[in-house]
Symmetry: C2
Subunit: 400 residues, 2 copies
């Protein structure tokens, strides 16, 4: 079995739905049994959410889930009808009909299990199951949604439950690139990459796959292929490719502009305060990415900076207040440029080359963070494009 997932733009119009139906028919003829997961038609979820937001700001409700789940209900029905019209047997299944059992966290449910009986039954009767992504039902039978980006997660989780050979994510880009081709003209498509690399890229702001879906793919070792719905090409396969002999040092670069750097100057207390501050932030579900702690001065004071997504700034301010602290500076004019590659493990000196490259371009580095397979530098947003381009040039990415 192969799972095929189609995003909103892939089913954004009647013409596109017809095209996708034909693509499914050909895929099934070539590869054997397939199971399809579909998002809502492009723009539909946004339309529904905007209607809802006129009435309520609380998106963690039963009403919100039921409302936005109607988007996929329409797209699976239309796609199944399109398959029927070209003589391919199909049946639309809502999330709960397809066996998706979730917890009851409204608007951001987690998949608990997938009962695949119905899907297997249809499939062995030669009927292609067309499953609504992004949704399921909790144990009391109420319809739930997985939160934005959840259709990727539905598809990969279903592939895992079905022990599928592969999960194909059909979208409007041709695969994963060494950098965003709109910014970096020399960017090239990556043929193969490891789960780990994709996971870093996804969490660093690359929009191709949702990090949750990559995590599941890695856990169950399901190869995920990112392909363009509208062109014939191989796309990018994310899979268990840890031991490629000729790993390039850097596989891909990405930038993230959704970043605020909060700085507290001349803080006087140390460990106990850090503990209380970051404890409080984690309690409030604030995502803290980079933390920079200056050396402690002779008088015992030090400076502290940390970064969060921009939307968390007001939460941070409230948390600081509750600890009788105040930010000296909140900078939202920054970007984070990141380099990811499993090859970094075996190549030392990558950081030095990064710093040298940026210095050569007179790009100031505000702060830096690293992991085994990535380096991120925070730079002023006005320099972000140039940083991306010159780092792309420097590491001259070629994958064999």
């Amino acid at each position: 079995m192969i799972v095929l997932k189609f995003g909103g733009t892939s089913v954004g119009s009647i013409e596109r739905i017809r095209h996708v139906a034909d693509l499914i028919r050909r895929s099934a003829a070539k590869e054997g049994p397939v199971c399809v997961v579909v998002s809502a038609m492009a723009g539909e979820t946004d339309r529904l959410v905007s209607l809802y937001k006129h009435l309520s700001s609380d998106t963690q409700t039963l009403e919100y889930d039921l409302l936005v789940a109607s988007g996929e209900q329409a797209s699976i029905s239309l796609l199944s009808a399109a398959l029927g019209s070209i003589g391919t047997k199909a049946q639309p299944l809502l999330g709960f009909q397809a066996g998706f059992v979730t917890n009851d966290a409204r608007g951001r449910a987690k998949i608990k299990s997938i009962q695949t009986d119905r899907i297997l039954e249809l499939s062995s009767a030669g009927i292609i199951p067309i499953v609504a992504g992004f949704q399921g039902a909790d144990e009391s039978g109420q319809i739930t949604t997985l939160g934005r980006g959840g259709s990727d997660t539905s598809a990969v989780a279903l592939a895992a439950a079905l022990k599928a050979r592969r999960c194909d994510i059909y979208t409007d880009v041709s695969g994963v690139y060494t950098a965003d081709p709109r910014i970096c003209k020399k960017a090239r498509k990556i043929e193969k990459m490891s789960f780990e690399e994709m996971m870093e890229l996804a969490s660093l702001g690359a929009k191709v796959l949702h990090p949750r879906s990559v995590e599941i793919a890695a856990k169950y070792q399901i190869p995920v292929r990112v392909v363009n719905t509208f062109e014939e090409s191989e796309g990018t396969t994310v899979g268990p490719f840890e031991d490629l002999l000729e790993s390039p040092v850097v596989t891909a670069l990405t930038t993230d502009h959704n970043l605020a750097l909060i700085t507290l100057k001349n803080v006087r207390k140390s460990e106990e305060l850090l503990d209380r501050l970051f404890g409080k932030l984690s309690e409030e579900n604030v995502i803290v990415d980079i933390i920079v702690h200056s050396a402690i001065r002779e008088d015992g004071s030090f400076d502290l900076s940390f970064s969060t997504p921009k939307e968390d700034v007001s939460l941070v301010e409230r948390s600081l207040q509750s600890l009788a602290l105040e930010a000296s500076q909140i900078d939202t004019s920054l970007s984070k440029v990141s380099l990811v590659g499993s090859g970094m493990r075996s190549h030392s000196g990558v950081a030095a080359r990064v710093f040298k490259t940026l210095a050569r371009g007179q790009i100031p580095i505000v702060c830096t963070t690293t992991s085994e397979i990535k380096i991120s530098c925070v730079v002023p947003q006005i320099h972000a494009e140039k940083a991306l381009q010159s780092l792309h040039d420097e590491f001259c990415i070629v994958r064999e």
Copy 2:
């Protein structure tokens, strides 16, 4: 318990949904427990159906049901959120969650039973159930729809199952009128009318209530009130008012332009042919309304005319062909003007007054049909308005 039903125009925008929420809150405060049935937002069902029709002409499919059912799924969620935002507890329920069990006739399902446990449970917990009209699920759990106009039927059937005191149908007109006020300036709103009168009016083309819903209301003796969502007024109550002492002869008038008159001239065989012809038409689900059979001539031949809705003409032609017959004439430029009133039972000479009135206005009558409480005359469509106005004047409808 009272059931309140809101049509598509009543929930056609965020402003209107807010207005309806307020109306429900006030209604519940005044009248005690209410249960709400809602249609899809105005235009939404048409939008979904038109998407579907690009892909398939078969509307009796699982896909069609699932697709159009998504319209009510959105409207109940939004209305429930609107109630929440003004502090009134509510919960959206899809048809199947509200207990609507139907047969599996796709696109035109019939309600088999309504399991009201969930609704009663919510209601006794002080939560207003907001039920999706027009839909249910068959016994295998697949979502079904009742066909257009089905939300009225949902509401009245639910009122019957709940043994409700009343069913209020909120819509964009102020009640049932003695004639269409857009055509007949002197038309007045009717305060009370019998189930029987409403049933005749609904089947004669008055669009206010769906005939199926009136039938159920009559069977279970549930008073139905037709009220305007957008103005404070009493509306029209349809109920067990058979024995109003001062019944007017005619309660209301209506016109129907969706009419084709098929004429077969010089037919030679008689009973046997009529039997085969109307047997065949009924087999094909053609609705035959008026049948006019001329006297049989000396040579044994006769003329036959019958009327059907315009959309059935091609079915009629096919049926005639299969019996080696052919229509001499198919006239689609006609209208049917009907007078309805329980008072007709006790007043003779109504037909004579009708003919005299139309003759005075030089309006030719093509044919006529009567029942205990109605008279319908088919006239050329160009004369239909004048016929309606002069008959309205003649019978000078006043109900005490």
